[in-house]
């Protein structure tokens, strides 16, 4: 049976619930698309149900303190077929009653963990690479273009770091933004067309000056630098702009 869900995490958890209630050992989960492809399998439209989702999440939490978080991060990759790798891993966890991520001998676990790590890694990079420009007193803005949709993983960090400021972090790849004010933060959608941010010349120049002189000329190692700051991230990095 193919289970179509509405591309929300609660929807996916509901699908897991339905699969377990139906004792369906050959289930496949897919996000609902506009034109449902022809399939020889039967199909089931999952109706997202928060109560069912909560029950599944509660069960997954019991397997280990980080299991749910790791599954969630892997899901954020929105890789093709990620739901089915997650289903295999959840099956391994629920059947053993133990943390599935400790059972890396299973190919699915190994794969899901590496996807989960990639997403975490990029979220971590965004903590490093966001560069705010000051637009007005106490108003800041930054642009990022991460490969994965990691805004949810970084919002709290920046909000708690600058609790009294107003700022926006625009994700120009997924057309979403973090809006943060002293009252709290949330994610909002962005239009396709976003005007470039104005320059913040004085401190951008000072930062570039510092960036240049702090390199030790007798140990230049551009290959190592590229390993830590891949070229794809440099577009929005003040210090790499001329």
């Amino acid at each position: 049976m193919v289970y179509y869900y509405d591309s929300t995490f609660d929807g996916l958890m509901t699908a897991i619930f339905d699969i377990y209630s139906a004792k369906d050992n050959e289930a496949i989960i897919q996000p609902t698309t506009e034109n449902v492809p022809f399939t020889l399998y039967g199909s089931h439209n999952v109706i997202t149900n928060v109560a069912k989702s909560d029950r599944v999440q509660k069960g997954l939490r019991k397997l280990g303190p980080r299991v749910l978080e790791q599954l969630y991060k892997a899901w954020l990759s929105h890789d093709d077929g990620i739901e089915n790798i997650m289903l295999s891993v959840i099956r391994i966890g629920l059947s053993s009653g133990k943390d599935p991520f400790e059972q890396r001998t299973h190919e699915a676990v190994c794969k899901l963990d590496s996807i989960q790590r990639k997403v975490s890694r990029e979220a971590e990079r965004m903590l490093q690479f966001v560069r705010f420009k000051k637009l007005a007193e106490n108003l800041y803005a930054a642009d990022i273009e991460p490969h994965f949709d990691v805004l949810e993983l970084i919002g709290e960090h920046f909000h708690s770091r600058f609790p009294q400021s107003n700022f926006i972090i625009r994700n120009l790849r997924h057309y979403k933004a973090i809006l943060s004010t002293p009252a709290g933060w949330h994610i909002t959608s962005l239009p396709r067309d976003n005007p470039p941010l104005p320059k913040d010349a004085e401190y951008e120049n000072l930062w570039r000056t510092y960036f240049k002189i702090i390199a030790n000329e007798s140990r230049i190692n551009l290959k190592l630098q590229r390993q830590f700051v891949p070229l794809k991230y440099r577009k929005h990095l003040t210090e790499f702009q001329i």
Binding site: Q103, R104, L127, N216, K223, V229, E239
Partner: protein
């Protein structure tokens, strides 16, 4: 004007290796900034080293004349001093833009140690008290400053450090006659005891102010003086044990002046030696090695072609191969190709199932090294045993870091450093039949 000062005082600070912003969880709602427990690097400079903190000197107008130091009084370089106000403002503006995690403040000695510390503390007071800045601050303590200033520094900063610089008292006397060993050791002891006392206070009163929550570190210059790796690692060990150091940094000496007993500017910077010392340091801190196991008085220097863990394993063939499914964690950590993470994963995974080499690969082990030192399900998969004399050649690395001299242009020496495996002819011959 500010840009000129930043050039001079940032440029003069780049010889300090430390840039870590970890170990503190400072936070406050009434201002801005917080410290991230694991630290955050914000960029990487052209030398491949991370930029986490704004690393500058308060001033480079030094009254001392230490031979190894670019800021020595006798050296003809441009001089500058930040005012506390401008440095505090610069730090805050950089921080607000997410360029940095905080400030790393060091200084040359202006007039005298107390005067210098007072300037630095004034900067920190502005940041913490006026701006309500809760980001990370690493303060380099000026040896010889008043203990009360040191105490205040600990209350304002997250991490304190005193550079030991030269690995022996003899070298210190020769190269930095104005610095006394006791003047370096005394603040280290004071930081340690203040911190211990602070921990006791905080048990009684949770509101007691934190003293240097991220502890203290130090730096040793490598290659300026003739000390062996053995004496450097013995020093490291005692620094970790005696002063509860969080980190000991090693800095390959870059010739900045001529002196009869210092290496001249034509001597290559010992980057590979520095790298090996860091690897050895990792073995001390995370792999439960003792300094005496890594080098001893008979082999006082680290092997430049071999990482120190491989070198140790080759000296102890009697312990290998180990059974991956039963070896204790401590022993797994000692297998070349198995790191802290993969050792933990092996322990977790083997509770569920017996592991083989392919499983080890899934755990993230480096099989091409580990294969010579493990058995899995009773099987030893390598064709060369742990005590074989050719194993050393197989495991030897080409230089990952080129040993550059100033006469090389960077591009050519980078190319030369690219060779990977250097097998001797005899090894190649020995390996031939195996491959068939």
């Amino acid at each position: 004007m500010l840009e000129e000062k930043l050039k001079i005082l940032g440029g003069a600070a780049k010889y300090d290796a430390s840039c870590s912003s970890s170990g503190s969880g400072r936070a406050g709602k009434d201002g801005f900034g917080n410290a991230h427990m694991a630290g955050i690097c914000h960029s990487w400079a052209a030398d491949g080293r991370c930029i986490s903190l704004l690393k500058v000197l308060m001033s480079n107008e030094c009254v001392y004349n230490c031979s190894y130091c670019v800021n020595r009084r006798g050296n003809d370089v441009p001089r500058a001093t930040f005012t506390p106000e401008e440095l505090a403002a610069l730090t805050a503006e950089f921080y607000r833009r997410n360029y940095i995690e905080g400030l790393f403040l060091s200084s040359a000695v202006v007039h005298n140690p107390d005067y210098t510390m007072e300037l630095m503390l004034k900067t920190l007071r502005i940041l913490r008290k006026s701006y309500r800045f809760y980001g990370y601050i690493h303060l380099k303590v000026i040896p010889g400053a008043d203990p009360l200033l040191l105490y205040e520094a600990g209350l304002l900063a997250d991490r304190l450090s005193v550079n030991i610089e030269l690995p022996s008292e003899k070298s210190l006397k020769l190269l930095a006659p104005q610095k006394k060993k006791t003047a370096i050791i005394r603040p280290m002891e004071a930081i340690k005891s203040n911190k211990l006392q602070n921990l006791e206070e905080r048990k009684l009163f949770t509101s007691a102010p934190l003293f240097a929550p991220a502890g203290q570190t130090t730096q040793v210059i490598v290659g300026a003086t003739p000390e062996s790796d053995f004496s450097i690692l013995q020093l490291t060990k005692s620094l970790y044990n005696r002063y509860n150091m969080k980190r000991v940094y090693y800095s390959a000496y870059i010739p900045v002046g001529r002196h009869p007993i210092l290496p001249g500017p034509d001597r290559p910077v010992p980057l590979l030696r520095e790298h090996r010392l860091y690897q050895a340091d990792w073995l001390l801190r995370f792999y439960r090695f003792d300094a005496d196991e890594i080098v001893d008085s008979e082999n006082p220097n680290l092997d430049l072609n071999l990482d120190p863990k491989c070198a140790w394993a080759l000296r102890h063939p009697e312990l290998f191969p180990v059974d991956i499914n039963s070896a204790e964690y401590e022993l797994l950590l000692r297998v070349p190709g198995i790191g802290v993470t993969s050792a933990r994963r092996i322990i977790e995974a083997r509770r569920h199932k017996k592991l083989d080499l392919d499983d080890m690969r899934k755990m993230g082990c480096v099989i091409k090294r580990a294969i010579y030192f493990v058995t899995a399900k009773g099987r030893f998969a390598a064709t060369v045993s742990p005590d074989s004399p050719i194993l050393r050649d197989i495991l030897s690395e080409g230089t990952p870091y080129p040993q550059m001299s100033l006469f090389d242009t960077p591009s050519t020496s980078l190319l030369q450093g690219g060779s990977k495996l250097s097998l001797s002819d005899s090894t190649r011959a020995a390996l031939q039949p195996v491959k068939i």
